[in-house]
Symmetry: C2
């Protein structure tokens, strides 16, 4: 009853907000029409003021949209609606406002006036001077413009105003999203599945990119054959499309996973993959762009240009990685060696600035800021986080949470808006149909073969239902959109942009909305407490599934991966953590004796005092929702006893005895390592191998 | 010993950061020189990339500066250095980088090339088309340019790049600063001194503005007489200078007050005045701008234009006020009637967006966003704050704290930078000397006469030492700078900008640094616990000072002000708080019976359940520093027993019995009002008077 009243109130509020948006937009249109008459007389000052007012109205429109989205999200959460996620919602509101902008506001209020033009023989320079009877005015280049569009430059002004500079997405909106992703990676699950995540993200994205690129090239040829193509569309354009559309963004899926507390490993696989393949897609697309000019006019395959592109890919990726990790390390050192934790405000500000400077530093050096920020986030979460004061850890987490939330919803509502307000859409039914087919096939070629290969080497198999869920979770989102809108100058790019937009809409609404039924249909366990999930390591669960014989066959591979993991873990625990944080064993005990003075200088006094374990950030992981309700009563029965295993694991210590043998979770590794000194000697012997390992 | 080591480490770190900044800047210069050769060939794409890289380097420079500032602030706080505040520090670092940019980077790397120009007969339009052999390019107007500057458009590119769009200060950096100020006003002290604050802020700023304006007009006439003036400088320009330089910003002083826990009333007077006079100065300066065109060519006094300006002032100010308060009220209603407090993230995001939309809404309607944001902050703190969940109250406070901190330090380091990198400085010794004299005299004419008048009506006098401290605390800061840089097109404005910059430097360094000695010299009590300070109301303290006879003489005035305060308080407590928050008495008991259905609809269910008092946000006021050290041992002796009174008040209940008679603090009013019903009936009888009161 009360809930109904709330809902009614909220609905009324939403209506009022929509009306407000409408009134604002109309007012803006009216104002500009009215004041436009005076502009010519009062000159540029008045015009600047008007432009500023218009900007305010535009931003206000977006903010109203976001406010509306937030209120509706609340309503949905309140009523436990899961068929539509907040991002989908933001898109719908964006669409509505886009329709209003496009069709609702009378275009007659603008006069059709062609701006003055002048001719020059030289190519366009960034700055142009205009001499009006002795007075000089400075103009900046905005971009090339089609001849046929010249006459509606002014007419389209309103719609164009709403169009943001695409670089805003890359430089302002994406960094907090990606940083937050890196910062909130559930590290234990992430590191446990690191090999698989990297395989999916690198190899899988590459497969998907080249498959989609080639298939689309076929589609483009078909279009040319049936006369549907009106302008150039090169092979590299197709590959570029493959790169941008291969960046998955299962934000909707993951939000539901988080809410339902779905399986931690699956979550880690999906989240890790999507975060990493965003990075891969950015670098891949810029490598393909770099390939383009090399081939002169042919746009055909050229081996040297190809290897150059591969080189660029590796260079940019590793450069960005190193830059991100380095800033993270510097922040860790600064927060360790200053006593900044007495002043949480300073600490938070420093943390924020250092994270941002990673982005800028990478961009200034010609690397990719977004990728650097991702690795900075991971490094910060792993080291710096432990040096921050209790209050700052909360502050930074919440700060980035809010920024992430706002940025994400902004991008999605902008996407909705862009469908109607973007000026240069090229809808091509054949291309769109081809692209939809291509992304599904590309995703399948990524997930199934790679899962098969990975399962050969994995102790805990990626089961069929996990694979289907990963296939299903191949949504496209913010990154694909941002990459597509970055350059919409040519016909090919415009067609790609339109298609990308439609793919994002479709996948977010249909796949995003279908996540909950799909989870139920695939019998994936939900209601897993992430803290308790730690105890039953992957294989103890496997055993319960009756996969025992298979496990024995994999013992060698298992040993190998465990050895790799242990190497990294030991190095990190013995050297990196003591250097960069206040925890871990004192360096004086782990470093050889001739490093004595250095070791004692680097070791924190606290390391001697409390040899206690690092407090693990995973435990602090903030869950947005407190409603841990199990909607699927059938899961406990159908999921092969998964729920039973969970209960047992939480209750009885028997499993940990079993799990001890396998030695793969970090807790156990830590225990073992603290128990025996031999292992440390072993790792000391192989220290030369570490520099490679360090970057994994 | 350890502190020394820390200091040494931090100093080394600072050196390294400075070197990094230097390297970055040189690298940027080198890069651009190197790549500039290729620009012509590869066209605009390459140029855009270069420009993006340059932007990144610039931002990175600022971020490095801020990082450096934070580290040095830490060092200063750590070592309890108080002669230089963080803002002064930020300016110094800015100055250093400015010097490097100006003199350190070889200008030879740029070629002196005049950009292409073309001629038109019409006036400049915002958009210009360029026809280069059939291809059309769109250009946007950047601004007018001096003929003599044409040849170094490219040469100055580096320095100009560092120059931010002045609107950035108004639209991005000032709003969080001002909002935070409003949001963190210590409300009890603020409301207690509201009358005085408004008098200083409105009347005082107007006096100061007109005095400075007229004095400067004399100075300008003198300059013309001695031939020091090379261009036009009107009377309205002088008034404009008076307006921008009248905005005080005692950020340094207040930070020290906060740290030393100086007297709460003095803090409220200074803080309230500076916050409000920022708002007054903005509106005043735009009113003066509006006056300018009305007088055609004469620029002399014109009664109708003057009254028009006064009308504009009142219109803009009240419009901004209403807009800010309205958004605050809407947010309060939304947070009250939705159960958003279950989802702190949504709540914080909503709060942030609503506060921001105040700014945009006001700008879109032609009012002043900064002023609206101030009143929005005050309203939010008074109502919305109480509806937020425990976590959100913390989150929002911290979020705005960080934003405020970053924005403020950014502005101050930019000021340092601007001294050397701004291109159009006009240093005029006579004008500067005149301005310095004018601001001191203007401040004196503001504080002393108004204090005398206010003391006639005040129960607790503003004593001489408070007046001297207020005089001393007349620093100029962010607002004066932002107003001065907003328009630097004419010669007069350039001279004003240069002078403003120097005044800011001088006042922040000298007066800011002198705050601690000054407090000691003026015997102003420090170490006041703001929570305990509540109990001894102003007059119980007065009595202790032996001002008894004087107090009797003021009993009528005292009654009046108490009556006004009580009216507002009762209205707020009985109607506004129950409508806008979950607390206060249920509306069903305060509203007349015929409003029954409305009252029960508006009253929160919680209001019936717990008639407990509003939790007062002042108690949650976050102190940045935990070091409550009393540096002034002599204060307890010299401050007329102030410390003794504090101790007594905290210990014994005798004072509250005494204080009950006066009935001016909100606690006591609340108590009384809950005790007796008659008063409520009284307030019901005078309800028609309220609409005026509501806006105070």
């Amino acid at each position: 009853m009360e809930a109904l009243r709330d809902a009614a109130c909220a609905a009324r509020g939403s209506m009022m907000m929509m009306m407000l948006v409408w009134i604002l937009l109309n007012a803006a249109a009216g104002l500009s029409a009215e004041e436009r008459g005076m502009v010519e007389e009062l000159g540029t000052e008045k015009e600047a003021e008007e432009s500023h007012r218009q900007d305010s109205v535009n931003l206000l429109t977006f903010i109203s949209l976001l406010t509306l989205t937030i209120l509706t999200i609340w309503l949905f959460k309140h009523r436990r609606v899961r068929f539509l996620h907040e991002t989908g919602l933001a898109m719908i509101y964006g669409l509505l406002v886009g329709v209003i902008l496009r069709y609702g506001i009378p275009a007659a209020s603008y006069h059709n006036k062609t701006p003055p033009s002048c001719s020059l023989k030289e190519g366009p320079s960034s700055t142009l001077l205009l001499n009006v009877s002795g007075k000089f005015f400075e103009y900046t280049l905005k971009g090339e413009i089609n001849f046929k569009e010249i006459h509606n430059v002014e007419q389209n002004d309103m719609l164009r105003k709403v169009t943001f500079d695409p670089e805003v997405f890359f430089n302002i909106l994406l960094p907090p999203i990606i940083f937050h992703a890196g910062y909130s990676l559930k590290k234990r699950h992430f590191f446990r599945n690191l090999g698989s995540i990297i395989t999916y993200a690198f190899l899988g994205t590459a497969i998907s990119c080249f498959f989609i690129g080639n298939l689309m090239y076929g589609v483009v040829k078909l279009m040319r054959a049936v006369g549907q193509l009106t302008d150039k569309f090169y092979y590299t354009d197709c590959l570029f499309f493959g790169a941008i559309i291969s960046a998955t963004d299962p934000v909707t899926v993951l939000a539901i996973f988080n809410e339902l507390h779905a399986d931690g490993d699956l979550y880690a696989l999906l989240f890790g993959e999507s975060v990493m393949n965003d990075a891969v897609a950015i670098v891949l697309s810029s490598s393909i762009m770099a390939y383009q000019p090399a081939g002169a006019n042919t746009h055909m395959f050229d081996a040297s240009a190809f290897f150059k592109s591969v080189g660029i890919f590796l260079g940019i990726f590793s450069g960005s990685f190193v830059m991100g990790a380095a800033t993270g390390v510097v922040t860790a050192l600064v927060t360790k060696f200053t006593k900044l934790h007495c002043f949480p405000l300073l600490e938070t500000a420093l943390f924020f600035l250092m994270s941002w400077s990673t982005f800028l530093l990478a961009e200034a050096c010609g690397f990719t800021g977004v990728v650097a920020v991702l690795f900075c986030g991971i490094t910060q979460a792993h080291y710096t986080y432990n040096n921050l004061s209790e209050e700052s850890t909360k502050r930074t987490k919440q700060l980035f949470e809010v920024l992430h939330f706002l940025a994400e919803n902004f991008i999605f509502s902008y996407m909705g808006l862009a469908l109607f307000t973007f000026q240069k859409h090229v809808f091509s039914p054949i291309f769109i149909a081809g692209a939809f087919m291509a992304i599904f096939l590309g995703r399948a070629l990524n997930i199934y073969p790679l899962s098969f290969l990975l399962n050969l080497g994995r102790r805990d198999k990626i089961r069929g239902n996990f694979q289907h869920m990963m296939m299903f979770a191949g949504l496209r989102g913010a990154m694909a959109f941002a990459l597509a809108i970055r350059d919409t100058a040519t016909y090919a790019r415009q067609m790609m942009f339109t298609t990308t937009l439609l793919i994002v809409f479709f996948t977010v609404w249909v796949f995003g909305g279908g996540t909950t039924p799909m989870l139920s249909w695939l019998h994936i366990r939900v209601g897993v407490d992430p803290d308790q999930d730690v105890q039953p390591s992957g294989d103890s669960f496997q055993v319960l599934q009756g996969d025992g014989p298979q496990e024995d066959g994999q013992s060698k591979t298992k040993q190998e991966s465990a050895w790799l993991f242990r190497l990294w873990y030991t190095f990190d625990h013995n050297y990196l953590k003591p250097i960069l944080t206040h925890s871990g064993p004192p360096l004086t005990s782990t470093l050889p004796s001739y490093c004595g003075p250095l070791a004692s200088c680097l070791t924190s006094p606290r390391a001697y005092e409390n040899q206690e374990q690092l407090r693990d950030p995973d435990n602090d992981f903030v869950h947005n929702d407190a409603d841990l309700t199990f909607t699927f009563g059938d899961t406990s029965i159908t999921a092969n006893g998964a729920s039973a295993s969970r209960t047992d694991a939480a209750g009885g210590p028997g499993w940990s005895a079993n799990g001890k043998r396998s030695g793969s979770t970090s807790e156990e590794a830590l225990e073992r390592e603290l128990d025996s000194r031999e292992q440390e000697l072993l790792s000391r012997g192989t220290r030369l191998v570490f520099p490679m390992e360090e970057h994994v």
